[in-house]
């Protein structure tokens, strides 16, 4: 049987479109509201990345930092995040969930405890921003044993030799970072160039589902229709901030935005 993440890619492929992955921060702007957001966008997105907020994020730009600080200020803890995921998983049309965060949060929880808790709350995958290959070898094996997808990251600076080793050690899904940037940067590389790199990865590793993230927004998303999946994060976080500033309901606004994103790649 296919794992839920691979199944989500397969279903999207059947409809001849890339899978849509969203990124929102757990606890932004409150525990309850972040759960509501997940439930709402789950109508349009295929896989939900749930950010674990951290206060020294070395790879996140302004929008995601704002969301993360907001969530931390509101008192979000690791256990609350697991609770949000498991509550979400109990809803009818829930989708696969990938937790995304920094290694210190896992390290403090204890790798084994963390994975146990992931399993229990039905987390399907993990992205650990600052645990690159080969440092992640042992942990990614542990994930596999627990049927959790450890998602390796690739970037424009990744050498061909590294690319081969990393994809070899990766599970069903890999994540290509489109450009040299923190999250939230404007797309500064042409889609053509990004797709050329994407195709290079697919050639080396045709069976793995490769998603592209960083710089994907309502404006740019339609240029990447011929891919396995696309991740939108900062634009959604920004929409939450905008809604809060305008005293509007972020759940409704974000859900509208994700619906639009989905239409653009359908």
């Amino acid at each position: 049987m296919l794992n839920p993440i691979s199944l989500a890619f397969k279903n999207a492929k059947k409809k001849k479109r890339p899978a849509l992955l969203t990124y929102t921060v757990a606890g932004d702007s409150s525990k309850k509201q972040s759960l509501e957001i997940l439930k709402a966008i789950s109508n349009y997105a295929d896989i939900l990345e749930v950010g674990v907020p951290h206060n020294t994020p070395v790879a996140d730009g302004g929008q995601i930092q704002t969301s993360a600080y907001r969530a931390i200020k509101n008192g979000i803890k690791m256990n609350d995040i697991f609770k949000i995921v498991s509550d979400f998983k109990k809803t009818k049309n829930s989708k696969p969930v990938i937790l995304m965060g920094y290694y210190n949060m896992i390290y403090q929880y204890g790798e084994n405890n963390f994975l146990k808790k992931c399993k229990k709350s039905e987390v399907n995958g993990l992205i650990v921003v600052d645990l690159p290959w080969p440092e992640n070898k042992i942990f990614s094996k542990k994930c596999k044993k627990n049927e959790i997808n450890f998602i390796q990251l690739l970037s424009p600076t990744t050498s061909n030799k590294r690319l081969k080793s990393i994809t070899k050690d990766s599970h069903d899904m890999i994540y290509y970072i489109s450009m040299l940037s923190t999250t939230g940067g404007k797309l500064k590389v042409s889609p053509k160039k990004i797709l050329a790199n994407y195709n290079k990865i697919k050639k080396i590793s045709p069976k793995k589902n490769c998603v592209i993230g960083f710089g994907i927004t309502e404006k740019t998303i339609s240029k990447f229709k011929n891919t396995d999946g696309l991740v939108v994060g900062s634009q959604i976080c920004k929409e939450i901030t905008r809604s809060l500033n305008n005293r509007q309901n972020p759940v409704i606004n974000v859900s509208k935005m994700v619906n639009k994103l989905r239409k653009k790649i359908s």
Binding site: H54, N55, T56, P57, V58, A59, D60, G61, Q65, Y69, I72, K77, M78, Y102, Y103, N104, M105, I106, Y107, Q108, Y109, V129, D130, L131, P132, W133, P134, E135, L153, L154, S155, P156, T157, T158, S159, R162, I177, L180, S181, T182, G185
Partner: protein, 414 residues
Amino acid sequence: MKLKKGIPVIDQGDRLGFWGGKFGGNFVPETLKKPIEDLEIQFNRLKNDKNFIKERDKYFKNWIGTPTRFIKLNNLTKQVGGAQIWSKVVSDANGGAHKIYNATVHCLLAKRSGKKVIIGDTGAGYAGKMLSMAAKKFGLKCKIFMGAKDIKRQQPNVKAMKKNGADVIPVYSGSQTLVDAVSECMRFWVTNCDTTAMCVGSTVGPAIFVRICGWSTSQISRELKVQLINEFGEVPKKLKLYNCVGGGSSSFGFWNEFMDYNKKQVEFIGVEAGGPTKSKRHAAPLTYGSKIGILHGAAQYVNQNSDGQIEETESISAGLDYPGISPLHCFLKDTKRARYTAASDEEALKAYQIVTKYESLRPSLEPSHAFSVAIKEAKKLSKDTIVIINSCGDAYKDRGILEKKLGKKYVKSN
């Protein structure tokens, strides 16, 4: 965990950059793997290259001004009544602090790799000031990231950076101090690592930055060893080296050359920032038993909550106001080669008053922490014990704080 003899400590990390199997490493985004590897290859080649060393020494001598003085503090010794108190006046170095060594080496490396821009973090503003000086000297563009709170409290150094043509970029996130400045600097590097070199301002960050910085500041102890032999004919039988510890670059550099001596002969005492007496937000992870965590790409003892969020710190000295500590010092602590303790804001201020009262030396608030502990301990030590404090920064940058805390008479003009 064991410290090896005959191998520089900066080279005692394992294949993945861990000292003692658990401190340091490279917890970085994938994008930075390549520039870090490039820097590792470059540094590993150059650190044994005779021409490069010659070039480094030329700039150290003619531009930084080596050696810095090694002086006896006669009045203070008399006043304290115990061990002989000496100081290595590293603030003699061009720019007024030890940060110049690391900045110079990073600029030399950046130049050789064809980079046009160099970026760096700063807390007290010295790392930033020195990088801006070195960048100017070597024709590189320079950007300095500095917490908004530090910009306010270290104005003299901010002015110096700007005068040298550097962009000073205020960081408003988090506690608006050094920890946030380093994060922001690393984020900038993630986005610009193809054209830009990064200098980390202390022996922190991914392993290669720890190594380059430790290698650079070791100039201090190389000089000191020669000066000791000139003065005493040998390395004294009872020697104690006191140094403040923020990230740990000046202390590591002050000790490195004496690493292989028995600690009964050459003892290392690191003094962390204890913050205001009544506070708990200490920037003293080694003294108060913080847990190991990941900060800025490296595993280290770090102030954090049970979830792994990095905690804010509080110290009167911006240069020590950092929740983490170099992996090198974690290693020296756990191998018991060095001893660590803390001084409070008040104790540092008091030490500053004592030193300036008896000597024509004006240590900044960072080394004043080390003076505080050294003075206390020297009282109880025998006359043949040589106590040396690294006076690694000049108090000019602290004039605003000193005037506010102690009144005008403690702020000499210049």
